[in-house]
């Protein structure tokens, strides 16, 4: 196993899939000659050339729509949004075209496109650059939403996303791009819709997606060391499709659950999971399902304060102690 950065795990996934399938194309702002604003695509333009790795103008609606149109004719575009926040500019193309065209054509057309980029707060770039769209987009039938937390997951899920024949919204995190993780030398894929139990435990289920899964792992260590609570951490990895079985299996074992996400609370992913748990695991629960989200306000700029706006390990510990 090699220890590589999250960004390089994604880079490997692109390179491998581009080698495998000549219809895979990378497009986005600065992805080619500049090597990517966050260096996720570095080296690929030199290796694959301008036909396969294309710089686009700053025109999110235009180039995302172009990718969707190309995907209808069998190209497999992997489109970078420099920030997922900019998807707001391309909303019509994603929501009305990528997500609906299969349905409205009675199944005659499909869009094998991946739209990817970082979707996170916590980097002091202000509210316009710090949105989490996973709950919005998972609300749209026709779209798939994936949020990997580790280098291993990022690579395996990206390879599956590129091979998937439906539009996949792939959400990364600028705070994780430099994080190193072990990635096998040999090829592997991680299916969309499979959660990962990142820490086994018996007393409570900490369920999360994206970077919040790593925050939950840190909280679990504190709970074990300081409170003798053995928490299980379930990382959803994919929001839609959703691995409901993995969540239920964990909660049936621990009888308590907290959902942690960097999304906002109103209709967040945790709201969906909490609703599902009260419906399907009511008799297994020994306490209400609690949720931790980012604080319910636009992302604040002030660097010291923004740290507090996102869920921190101690926030999770405190919440867990209220029901354990």
């Amino acid at each position: 196993m090699a220890l590589i950065e999250y960004r390089d795990a994604l880079n490997q996934a692109f390179a491998e899939e581009m080698e495998r399938d000549p219809n895979v194309v990378l497009m986005g702002e600065e992805v080619a000659e500049y090597d990517g604003a966050y260096k996720v695509t570095r080296g690929l333009w030199q290796r694959f050339g301008s036909k396969r790795v294309m710089d686009t103008p700053i025109s999110e609606a235009g180039f995302i729509g172009m990718g969707i149109g190309a995907s209808m004719l069998g190209i497999r575009p992997v489109m970078e949004l420099m920030f997922w926040s900019f998807a707001a500019v391309a909303w019509d193309q994603i929501i009305n075209n990528a997500a609906q065209v299969r349905y409205m054509s009675g199944g005659l057309i499909n869009c094998p496109i991946v739209i990817r980029g970082p979707a996170n707060g916590g980097t002091n770039v202000g509210a316009t650059h710090s949105h989490n769209h996973e709950n919005f987009l998972a609300n749209i039938p026709g779209l798939k939403v994936v949020c990997p937390a580790t280098a291993y997951d990022a690579k395996g899920l990206m390879k599956s996303a590129i091979r998937d024949n439906d539009p996949v919204m792939f959400m990364e995190n600028t705070l994780l791009y430099g994080e190193k993780g072990e990635v096998p030398e040999e090829e592997y894929l991680i299916p969309l819709g499979k959660a990962d139990v990142k820490r086994e435990g018996t007393d409570i289920s900490l369920i999360a997606h994206g970077r919040a899964a790593l925050t939950a792992l840190k909280a679990a260590e504190l709970l074990a060391a300081e409170h003798n609570i053995n928490a299980e951490v379930v990382d959803l990895r994919s929001i839609r499709p959703l691995d409901e079985e993995a969540i239920l299996a964990s909660v049936r074992k621990t009888h308590r659950a907290v959902y942690i996400e960097e999304n906002k609370p109103f209709c967040g992913v945790g709201a969906q999971i909490a609703s599902m748990l009260q419906e399907k695991a009511f008799d297994d629960l020994d306490a209400p399902v609690l949720r931790i989200s980012s604080m319910d306000a636009p992302a604040i700029y002030s660097p010291e304060l923004e740290k507090k706006q996102l869920p921190r390990p101690l926030d999770i510990v405190e919440k867990v102690l209220s029901i354990c």
Binding site: N23, V25, K51, M54, T56, P57, S59, A61, G62, F63, I64, G65, M66, G67, I68, G69, A70, S71, M72, L73, G74, I75, D92, Q93, N96, N97, V101, R102, Y103, M104, S105, G106, G107, L108, I109, N110, P112, P141, G142, K144, S160, D164, N165, D166, P191, L192, G193, K194, S238, R240, P241, L242, D243, E244, Q272
Partner: protein
């Protein structure tokens, strides 16, 4: 004035793409226009009989545009349009039955009753819709043409749009990329003078015409009159050759007119934002079907009897389609959650992994 117009008309008949048409092909062009007219008229009747819901945007008056453009398509040329899409659908060869059944929301419709009037599709006929959001199809058309170029296919994507669509931002983003990347897309602005109930003068600022805006992107552009199907064909052929031979985009504005409102719900289209006399003038003096019919009669390609026959046949075909639609079953309730995800529909491993739908 009349003689000058006639002289111009004859010129387009002499362009190579038109002069080589056989008598049969000419009659075919006329027949296709008449079929669209009769289909639209029948669908209006059925709408008024409450056989369908939603919106209905009729193409009456604009037939020469869809038929003229589509008549030039080769195997690798593609079409995408906006919500006034019935004409293009019939022109590419979709049947009246599947189109009418779609309007009725029936399972036999081209989209199994899932798309409706604004969302007809036939990818097997290189027809990519049928799009409901004004100008939303303009980046998609760019993408279709991008895919052709990427695959090394000598083809073009004709992306139709109305004059109201030229004021949406994604159209300009698309023009910029079309020029920047040399993409063989042809934007065809069907300028019927009204952006819903807002006239051209009240909705768009321009110097000589809308297509001229392409000048700023260094894109070839043109403007022509849609009254004469030969004029449409001559101009579009130039754009197709540019796309095929140079992989370059074109913006072509075609002046046309719709006899009905923006949609059938538009009660103010006559006597409101436009005068009855204006509509009558178009019907009397600029109707593309009547003008082409007269030309074919004058040159002896067609007789009145033949015209009556083809018109009756189109009328009967539309009536049969309405009957077919009426008698067709509605889609099953289970079908509501089908055709959402490719992988689920095919029950692939990806489609069987995880939960995709959340009602239970």
């Amino acid at each position: 004035m009349a003689s000058a117009a006639k002289a111009k008309q004859l010129d387009f008949a002499k362009t190579p793409i038109n002069s080589k048409l056989s008598a049969q092909q000419k009659v075919r062009l006329l027949t296709e226009m008449v079929r669209i007219r009769r289909f639209e008229t029948e669908s209006l009747r059925q709408y008024q009989a409450k056989k369908m819901g939603g919106f209905l945007h009729l193409y009456n008056g604009q037939e020469s545009v869809a038929v003229g453009c589509v008549s030039l398509m080769g195997d690798d040329d593609h079409v995408i349009t906006a919500y006034r899409d019935h004409g293009h659908a019939l022109a590419v060869g979709m049947t009246m039955n599947e189109c009418m059944a779609e309007l009725f929301g029936k399972v036999t419709g081209c989209s199994k009753g899932k798309g409706g009037s604004m969302h007809f599709f036939a990818p097997d006929k290189n027809y990519w819709g049928g799009h409901g959001i004004v100008a939303g199809q303009t980046p998609l058309g760019l993408g279709l043409a991008f895919a052709l170029k990427y695959k090394g296919v000598k083809g073009a994507a004709m992306c139709f749009m109305g004059d109201g669509a030229v004021n949406q931002g994604c159209f300009y983003e698309s023009l910029n990329m079309a020029a920047l990347f040399d993409i063989p897309v042809i934007y065809i602005i069907e300028n019927n003078g009204y952006s819903m109930g807002t006239s051209l003068a009240r909705s768009s600022s321009f110097k000589s015409c809308l297509a001229e805006r392409a000048e700023g992107f260094n894109i070839a552009w043109g403007q022509c009159n849609g009254t004469d199907i030969y004029e449409v064909r001559a101009n579009v052929q130039t754009a197709i050759e540019r796309a095929h031979n140079e992989s370059k985009p074109t913006v072509l504005e075609i002046a046309t007119y719709r006899y009905y409102g923006h949609s059938v719900a538009d009660a103010k289209h006559t006597g409101g934002y436009r005068q009855k006399e204006e509509i009558e003038n178009y019907k009397q003096n600029h109707d593309p079907i009547q003008i082409f019919k007269r030309r074919l009669l004058e040159e002896g390609t067609l007789t009145e009897e033949q015209y009556e026959q083809l018109d009756e046949a189109a009328k009967a075909e539309a009536a049969t389609a309405a009957q077919f639609a009426d008698e067709s079953p509605i889609p099953s309730e289970e079908s509501i959650t089908q055709d959402v995800y490719f992988e689920v529909d095919r029950q692939t491993e990806a489609g069987r992994t995880g939960k995709h739908f959340f009602n239970s």
